[in-house]
């Protein structure tokens, strides 16, 4: 146990609906493992690539013309902050995959800038995940993942890849940027799956 410093309060942890080890914040901390990509909407593209190499792509105009949903969700970052009641607008992953033929069980989300993260496909289906392009009624700003980011609120937020470029459907699991560097492969905040060993 480290020496306690008088008068240093640290973070509040008094909310009962927090996952273990989390504290509540009303800010929206910006975390980034690299420079923020700036992607012009004229050259932005979202792709879904199946295990057979079949590609479906959407331009910005096509993507934003898809039926949108407005989820309000709690988000949990592995660096211990949680933010309640975040309001988003985006396209359900169910909608993006509606016409895609696949037997894949895993997905790698690829970002502009090179970031990757892996998830089981079933965690992106049945209304659990979106590709979001508005936050709190405004276009999603680049530092928070704009033009569009993955939103998978039931997993730690590193799974919600910013600057989403493609969803790669795979038969096998391929650990992503943080999953190859010590973080948990699945990342359920309620079971506190932060690290590989958890």
């Amino acid at each position: 146990m480290a020496l306690i410093t008088r008068g240093f309060g640290g973070r509040r942890r008094d909310d009962t609906d927090l996952p273990p080890g989390q504290y509540r914040t009303d800010d929206f901390p910006v975390l980034s493992a690299g420079p923020t990509p700036r992607i012009g909407l004229d050259r932005w593209e979202l792709a879904v690539v199946t295990e057979t190499g079949e590609r479906s792509t959407w331009s910005w105009a096509e993507f934003t013309a898809l039926p949108a949903e407005e989820p309000t969700v709690d988000i949990h970052c592995v660096t211990h902050w949680s933010k309640f009641g975040t309001r988003w607008r985006g396209v359900s992953v169910d909608t993006l995959l509606a016409d895609v033929e696949t037997t894949a069980e895993y997905v790698v989300a690829h970002s502009y800038g090179g970031y990757t993260t892996n998830l089981p496909l079933e965690d992106l289906l049945d209304g659990q995940a979106w590709v979001a392009y508005e936050f709190d009624g405004e276009p999603l700003v680049p530092v928070h993942g704009g033009p569009a980011r993955l939103l998978v609120p039931h997993l730690y937020f590193w799974k919600s890849a910013k600057w989403l470029r493609a969803l790669e459907l795979r038969l096998d699991d391929e650990p992503g940027f943080w999953e190859t560097a010590g973080y948990h492969n699945y990342g359920d905040p309620w079971r506190e799956q932060r690290y590989l060993s958890d």
Binding site: L31, G34, P35, A181, G182, Y183, Y195
Partner: protein, 96 residues
């Protein structure tokens, strides 16, 4: 590396910031080690790399090509140092 803030500041610090987290586990000052970037093959001291420290781990990138040269993640009981972005790590021979 005192901390300071400005709205325009880039979200990274110098590799100097790795002296503490790495020194604690390595027992030597790795910030004077030179790394050869696997992306662009240039060589620099770790101190001169860019470290993105507002993230689940510490991510050092080459200032030339922005490729990742080192990642440091502290888990519950271990510290992982991922060096797949570096071709060579060279250290000065300690002198008494």
């Amino acid at each position: 590396m005192p901390t300071n803030v400005g709205a325009d500041d880039a979200p990274w610090v110098d590799g100097n910031a790795l002296a503490g987290p790495l020194g604690e586990i390595m027992g030597t000052d790795l910030t004077v080690a030179e790394l050869t970037c696997a992306g662009c093959r240039t060589t620099r001291p770790l101190a001169a790399m860019r470290v993105f420290d507002r993230a689940p781990g510490l991510v050092a990138r080459c200032p030339g090509c922005e490729d990742v040269v080192m990642r440091v993640v502290r888990t519950a009981g271990r510290v992982l140092v991922d060096l797949r972005g570096s071709l060579v790590l060279s250290l000065p021979v300690p002198t008494a």
